[in-house]
């Protein structure tokens, strides 16, 4: 009997960041292929950095993303300081970690409450969810606002902060400027813990891919700005060796380069990878909460990433409060720099996972070459593989439900397609009986 063709088409997948589409090819009872097509126009950031002064890199690369500009600034300054052989010291390192906490808080709160939670509670969007879960949404907005406040005070403004420079900060805020932020964050700790408990009690669809998790690993801290690259399959390398172990590939269906391990395999970066590889670096109260709720590692179901984001949100608040407790503005807020011909590598933990930068500089400090590998481009292949497996296990579902579940599955990764190259559309072609 000839196979019938079924086509399922979603005009636009909402609540992800960027423009793209997903096509599932289903023949009979087999999902043959899942392709994440990123047709966002190429943005040429690496090319437009060439010829610019090294000092411009943090502000230029911050424009890659409105939700994780700090990540771009942090990886850029780390790479450039490595090239110039400068260490701005522990006070600047702490201030950068504090700024990163602000970004983790606002980015995780946005995704968890406004974009991801409606999936689990069965609402088309946050406005519909708010009618019945008003308190929850108010908590989310308050948490995001607190993250924004930290970015504004320390970064100069909420979107595309302007206070970060190679060698430190243009100006360190006064203790008095920091005080209201600290108060706002302290008042939200209970809400953040309630968020973790809310997320842990959700129903999760089953999916357990065999991931190779990749994240930074620091000797002392839960990783943000420092560490070596490690994986759940034994990788342990310096950031400078990134290109030996991770290979970028051009694929026909995406304007974003796919990044694979040197053996050709997909890997996963982001909150789940960080958490599974660095659980022992979390403070004891966060570990105890995770254990109490039954979310000690390994966590391998991507739908449970909402719980991990909740735990990281709580961690970022505690960490920000710790750093603010004995805050005094470093003076000066930056160290002097002397340009030289050199190459440097940087890798930091963006909210969505590791973000690698490499710069080659000429003797006058102008940028000869730049390479930027964002987290979503590293997760693309893994998202495709997970979608294929997930759709395969749920082929019996009616089209509309399967489509909704697949969209939900994509949001597990909090993909930032804008970063990777922007709006996602989902197409399903089914050849079935």
């Amino acid at each position: 009997m000839p196979l019938k063709t079924r086509t399922i088409k979603v005009g636009e997948l909402a609540r992800v960041e960027g423009e793209g589409a997903l096509t599932l090819r289903i023949r009979g009872t087999t999902v043959e292929q899942a392709q994440l097509q990123i047709f966002e126009s190429p943005r040429f950031f690496e090319a437009l950095l060439r010829g610019r002064d090294f000092s411009e890199a943090p502000d230029i690369t911050a424009r890659i993303c409105g939700i994780c500009p700090v990540a771009y600034q942090m990886s850029a300054v780390q790479a450039l300081e490595a090239a110039l052989g400068v260490d701005p010291g522990p006070e600047i390192a702490n201030l950068r970690r504090l700024l990163y906490c602000g970004e983790w808080i606002e980015s995780h709160a946005l995704h968890l409450f406004l974009l991801h939670a409606p999936d689990f509670l069965g609402y088309p969007g946050v406005a519909e969810m708010a009618a019945e879960h008003g308190e929850l949404v108010n908590q989310g907005l308050a948490l995001k606002r607190a993250g924004n406040a930290l970015l504004r005070v320390l970064g100069g403004r909420e979107i595309h902060p302007v206070n970060v420079r190679v060698g430190g900060f243009y100006r360190a805020p006064s203790v008095a400027e920091m005080a209201p932020v600290r108060e706002e964050l302290a008042g939200l700790r209970a809400a953040a813990e309630a968020t973790v408990r809310f997320a842990a009690a959700l129903d999760f669809p089953q999916l357990a891919p065999d991931y190779e998790f990749v994240s930074l690993r620091d000797e002392l801290e839960y990783p943000m700005n420092r560490g070596r690259l490690i994986s759940s399959r034994g990788l342990d390398c310096a950031v400078a060796d990134f290109n030996q172990h991770f290979i970028e590939h051009q694929v026909e269906h995406s304007h974003a380069l796919h990044c694979r391990r040197d053996n050709g395999n997909a890997y996963l970066v982001g909150p789940m990878a960080r958490y599974n590889l660095n659980f022992d670096r979390l403070p004891a109260p966060i570990r105890r909460l995770a254990e109490e709720l039954g979310f000690a590692p390994p966590i391998c179901n991507p739908f449970q990433s909402i719980v991990i984001r909740g735990l990281e949100l709580l961690f970022a608040i505690d960490e920000a409060l710790r750093l603010l407790a004995d805050y005094s503005p470093p003076e000066p807020a930056h160290v002097p720099l002397r340009p030289k011909q050199a190459e440097g590598h940087g890798c930091t933990e963006a909210p969505r996972g590791i973000l690698y930068h490499r710069y080659a500089l000429a003797a006058d400090g102008s940028i000869l070459c730049a390479q930027i590998v964002p987290p979503t481009s590293q997760n693309q292949l893994r998202i495709e593989q997970d979608l294929q497996a997930f759709a395969q296990n749920h082929l019996a579902l009616p089209d509309a439900e399967l489509q909704w579940r697949c969209e939900q599955a994509i949001r597990n990764y909090d993909p930032c397609i804008s970063c990777a190259t922007h709006f996602l559309q989902l197409y399903m072609d089914r050849d079935g009986c």
Partner: protein, 145 residues
């Protein structure tokens, strides 16, 4: 009265709402003035509990560039359809969210200025720049009434 200008100065005509606030400041407008990038986490607390709020923002409604009009209620909701932001909620979504949370203003009016282009790094197009002057002048006299 609170007048909130919305927009992004780096995106051509999208800066229209902010440019209106710039002019109102220069006029010494008696109303409270605020600027916002549209993030609901910041925007909702701004208008929450206010008696009278005027939002001014660029829009794409299909009329000719620089045309501006007063919109209320359902007319603002009708601006939905074209997704303007991928990183957050658009204005109709933020208004719907505020209603659901009972965190809206008692009275809210929007002055929409039809945009021509949201080109990165561009200045306001001439028709929109003219409209900004007209809107600021109209709001200034309205705020004094």
């Amino acid at each position: 009265m609170l007048i909130i200008g919305l927009g992004n100065r780096l995106r051509g005509d999208d800066a229209a709402g902010l440019a209106v606030i710039d002019r109102l400041e220069a006029y010494g407008c008696p109303a409270q003035l605020a600027r916002s990038d549209g993030d609901p986490a910041s925007l909702i607390p701004l208008w929450e509990g206010q008696d009278r709020v005027v939002l001014t923002d660029a829009m794409h409604s299909g009329v000719s560039p620089g045309h501006w009009r007063r919109l209320e209620g359902d007319q603002i909701d009708a601006l939905r359809g074209r997704r303007l932001s991928s990183h957050t909620l658009d204005l109709p979504q933020s208004l719907a969210l505020a209603r659901a949370l009972d965190r809206q203003a008692a009275e809210l009016t929007m002055i929409g200025i039809e945009a021509a282009a949201d080109t990165h790094g561009a200045a306001l197009t001439p028709a929109v720049a003219e409209a900004v002057v007209a809107v600021a002048s109209a709001l200034q006299s309205w705020a004094r009434s």
